[in-house]
Amino acid sequence: MKREVAAPATEAHPMDELLRMDRIPHIWCPTCGLGTVVTAFASAVDKLEIPLDDLAVVSGIGCTGRVAGYIKVDSFHTTHGRAIPFATGLHLTNPKLKVVVISGDGDLISIGGNHFIHAARRNVDITVICVNNFIYAMTGGQVAPTTPLRANASTMPYGNFERPFNIPYLAESSGAVYVARWTALHVRRLTKAIAEALQKPGFSVVEVISPCSTLYSRRNRIGTGLDLMKFYHDNCEIKHGADTRELDIGFQEEITVGKFIDTERPTYVESMNTWYAEVFGDQYEPYEGSAK
């Protein structure tokens, strides 16, 4: 992102270089936090000076799923829940590519939940940015596996009685090597966490709590996205290294944010190469990708 502004100020923005401007303005509602998450991601890429040709973004379906369509790098908008398997294939074909999944809680944790746990178990070297807005937003506010207890959803008109997933705990217990949670308000810390996750070999997860003004907060009568940002401001506690079992999120209750897990474990490709080298000795040529 260049900072010199040659064009008239009303025409260009430093982010424009990283966006598919023919699709902007995006479809996200006023006071939705998703655009902010895109800026944080772009800033992390900019900070690490990752060549854009070495980066790929994969999304599933949903409001967050639109990200792949707005970012001007190689990107793919997969079917519902299938962002991680697509990203896994992309990574295994060309392990030198930085493969990032940016998708929502419903897509990654519910419909793609199985892919999430197995990619973490195998320690596939990809980064997952899971935007958690507590609800299925694009399809009309149905209850998600991340909807806090007692929050209202269109399929839970009397309040949710299903226990939600705690994403950092799910990620850690499945085997992720980097796990952090921030909100869209903590945009600088979020950028730093995304940069760390991008540099981490193995399965890294950044959960981003982000306001959904149209479905979640309106249905629950808790104001606009700005009110939710103010809520995060007043009710987030930073606890690095917190025990992930204690990171449940209650309805309008305090949210613990921070970096919880940062550890090392052989990645999927490393494990395969080490084992086959042991089994086949000199006959085995370590796998480094099949992309030409």
Binding site: V5, T31, R188
Partner: protein
């Protein structure tokens, strides 16, 4: 919002209570704000979280029918770029402007 006058650096004629040791070496950066009015969807994130209270929502509407931010206090902008980072619409950004060199010797 917090009282912004607390954060105002001392103007001419005022003295720092204790002059920072590096006051004549460290320059407070200054920013020039660019607002792409017609991209704005009026979320107010920038106005609410600008640490220097530089921005205020407009009375008038943009082409989409939203109020948008106006820099009412641009001299206070320290180019922290928080407004730019928070804006979900890529509608506001800030560029650093060169400080004009003060013609006194820093009071020594």
């Amino acid at each position: 919002m917090a009282d912004s006058s607390r954060r105002t650096p001392p103007g001419p004629g005022q003295k720092y209570w204790r002059r920072p040791l590096d006051a004549d070496r460290i320059k407070v950066p200054h920013g020039e704000i660019h607002i792409l009015v017609n991209r704005c969807k009026g979320c107010q994130f920038c106005v609410e979280y600008c640490p220097r209270d530089v921005l205020e929502m407009s009375e008038s509407f943009n082409v989409k029918g939203y109020h948008y931010p106006e820099a009412v206090n641009e001299g206070e902008c320290v180019n922290c770029q928080l407004c730019e980072m928070l804006c979900p619409e890529f509608a506001i950004f800030c560029v650093e402007v060169e400080e004009e060199v003060a013609d006194d010797d820093g009071g020594s």
